[in-house]
Amino acid sequence: MKLSRREFMTLAGGSTVGAVIFTACGVPADELLVEAPLDLPEDLVTGIDSWFATTDDSGLGVIVRVMEGRAKKIAGNPDYPINVGKHAVHSDFALQALYHPDRVEGPMRRRSAGQPLVPISWDEASDLLAQWMTDADGNLAVVTNPIRGGDARIAGDVASAFNGRLMFFDPLEQGVLHQAVKTVFNQNRIPEFDIANAHTVLSFGCDWLGTWLSPVRYSTKYGDFRGGDHRGFMMHAESRMSITAAAADQWLTVKPGYEGDLAISIASVIVKEKLVPDANISAYTANIPQGELDNWAPELVADRIGVSVERINDAARKFAGEGPSIAFGGGSAGAQTNGVFNLTAVYALNILAGTVGKAGGIQFNPAGSQDLPDSATGASFEVWEEELSQWRAGNVKTVILRGADLVHGLPRSVDAGGALDNVDNVVAFTSVLDESSTHANLILPENSYLENWGLDVPEPAPGYEVVGIRQPVVNAPLDGETKARLYDSRNFLDTLIQAAGSRVPVNSVKEFVEDTVADIFSAGRGSVTAGDARLFMNGVLQRGGWWDVNATETTGSPSNISSPIAKAAGPGLSEIEVGVEGHVFTLVPFAHQSLLDGRNASTPWAQATPDPITTVAWSTWAEINFDKAKEMGISEGQWIKVRTTVGEITVQAYPHPGISPDVIAIPIGQGHKEEIGGRYAEDRGENVLNILVDKKESETGALAWAATRAVVSKSGGKKEFPKFEGDAKDIIRPAEHGVPILIVEPGQTAHEAEEHNHELHLRFISNDE
């Protein structure tokens, strides 16, 4: 007897009939299984899903579940070497960016300053773009987020075809890191950190498990580091407790700008106590004058850098102890006036550990396949100051912006908006309006990466050649009533190619991808084998890319190790205003776990994801040391003014114990003005980047974004945070130690720890102690 569910419900509607059915059929065990709608015929959604491999904007390999032309889920590509099937918190945000209700629907033009944007056709927009690029021959700037591989090659070719320049913008650019890697290892690209095979990890300033460089890749390595046969030991130096600091076995609360001093102090202990082989010490000290390291003895630097003598000694002994050991750094450690010194000192520790080029240490990456650009970082702040001065002077005729929100991401002092206003033609490719696009006179709706062809060379690579292929997996959805496309966007690079016409050697991004893959096929090596180029292309698309684990040859090995103390300098923090009432802090901005630098702010999922440390969502907060806040009379949710010599923002305070007392930390990503960033981001929170003082790293000219001092004072009133904390903690309060997070010492069983905790609890409630 086979009944559909609807038929069953109809029959069962009469109690007598229902009783008969139950009596006759019984209730088979399978009926007790809760059925997903997929198994219920009357609810079944017709269609078959497909999974397509592609590469996302952050360099991860992803697979996208597509059903009836709609993207439903994004997951990590199990084949792709960078993330081996895993993905980041922000990976799924691309679905909401794709179907965002405030996506720019079509091209728009502003005919004169102050006038509103009006819709125009793509034909008109394309002609206008081509005209403006031609008019600007020699005076064209194409500005994008850092891109690599074929994307960078095409964009660069287009800019060059008009004697213009391709510039990258990244508010938290990695130029200082690149310079340090070049100085210590003579490498032009960021190396691979073999965290999985290390026993001891010592990191400085970078939230490598959260937001820095390639956090998904590093997290997969971290899992192996923690879960292998031999649990590794991790130390992390940072002034604020990021999730990386939280994961560390030992948090070193170094003051901002003193990371280099800490690294050299650790080295001084290792050298003095001869904790590593003589050859390593000789290599490290080759260019250090005799006795110089003694100036960094823990007793001499501890007070200055904020880490105790005991902690420095302990860190040195652990780092030099059971190996292999690896040291790396970046983030706020490099975002100082002495950033190159800090990071040079950090990376030089690997020479002392003797793990450069070895398992569990620093491993260099080969050049990008097919001579494609394999490394990208934003231009330095100094370069941007010069560039914006040219715009302001009217020396640049056309600026093309894509993924580069200069107005939101640069300090207020450079007035990026004002500079854009002095450029004749500003073209902004965007899917949701951002701050910079409000200064544009031509808005062109841009595809999501899910709709694009593209070719990426991931950085950092995993130690061998990798090419990531991007392919369109969906089309624009149609309006339910009019059947018109909800938005009419195009690939940024294809639009540029079309505008450049015969000036560039390619006709489309797809053609470039196919040609490059054909070249790879002719090399006859790597992860895909096929009988002909067409099958090879299919194989590459199915895997989301191509890689060759044997292509590991690198160039530029260090021949002469420079002295890590040659560039020693203290941090040059900004001045503070005289006469302003309040307490002085070092202001440390940090990338938001889900919004990152603000690129994800338009999506509701990104806004609603609670910050791991504070659990706050939908807003901007300022992290301040719990005891310091108490001293200042500041409680959670209190509005406080954070004032620098450049400006002031008012945000809510979140006091907690995981931050140095002289530091105030504020996440980047919010602060979009009214009608900017879409309905979920507009008029929400504050943009801390705008009040940074324009201090520069002394060697690279990069923005020293962690070198601003601020005066903090109470403002009026307080307001409860939209935060997750408090939803559950009142229910699952620790009934006794170890509930819910049970902590064991190495070798201790859970049962032993529970017994011990219970004993402590019994003593506590009987007031024995």
């Binding site: 059903m67 990976s91 407790m241």
Partner: protein, 246 residues
């Protein structure tokens, strides 16, 4: 004791959470939201303390500056064998199935919320409002998962739609299910492999092996709920110097 599930089913699904690997990155939380059509927790909903999170990552502070640690633990429905939520449901909308899962039948739920009151883990969520998405965002909704309406209780389903799909595809292709064939959205996403899903009835599965780890414990063990979600304790390699045992 042999449970009812073990008697009648070839599968006993469960999860092991290695707290020592969890970094609190929220990838599991977001993957779950996208997979299971979970209503958006707007700013207003946050303020009302009615956020939806079938899986959440709780953060606990241990110690004081500078000897302080933030520790994270992912918490989802524990799929208890002795689930306090099940006997209190007057309409049998929540019950224990034959595969070790605590399941929720949406179209049977009448919204008494007794189950949420009974759950000691606070992992059940009530739809006080009809979930609303802008029209264009509905393109993303997963057609395998019912969108719950106002007045309905919901919770982690162990991504039952993925289990059903995996079982069906294995039968179609004529092979037995292998460990790792089925992953929940959260376990698939977790970059550190802190979350592992599998079949306890397969003695070679990763969850079965991890369940024998000396660090294994269950949440609120004293309540004897017998969860199918097991935890592996966090290791403090500093010997308690950061407040872990104080």
């Amino acid at each position: 004791m042999v449970t009812a599930a073990e008697r009648v089913s070839s599968h006993k699904w469960g999860m092991v959470v290695d707290v020592d690997r969890c970094t609190g990155c929220q990838a599991c939380v977001m993957a779950c939201q996208a997979e299971n059509n979970i209503p958006l927790s707007t700013e207003d909903i946050y303020r009302q303390k009615r956020t939806f999170a079938w899986i959440r990552v709780e953060r606990y502070w241990y110690g004081d500056f500078p000897d302080v640690k933030a520790r994270f633990i992912p918490i989802m429905c524990q799929h208890c064998e002795n689930a306090p939520c099940e006997p209190v449901c007057p309409v049998f909308a929540t019950y224990h199935n034959t595969e070790g899962m605590n399941v929720q039948i949406y179209n049977r739920c009448v919204g008494t919320r007794y189950c949420a009151n009974g759950c000691p883990y606070n992992v059940r969520f009530f739809n006080y409002w009809e979930p609303v998405w802008p029209v264009s965002l509905r393109n993303q909704l997963n057609p395998d998962v019912t969108v719950r309406s106002r007045g309905i209780m919901e919770k982690c389903s162990f991504c039952v739609q993925r289990i059903r799909r995996g079982v069906r595809e294995a039968a179609r292709d004529g092979h037995d299910l292998q460990d790792g064939d089925i992953g929940t959205a959260c376990t698939d996403a977790c970059p550190t492999n802190a979350l592992v899903f599998g079949d306890y009835n397969d003695e070679n599965s990763r969850v079965s092996i991890m369940a024998k780890d000396d660090r294994k414990y269950t949440l609120l063990d004293a309540l004897n709920t017998d969860p199918n979600v097991l935890y592996l304790a966090q290791v403090d390699a500093t010997g308690g110097a950061i407040g872990g045992h104080d």
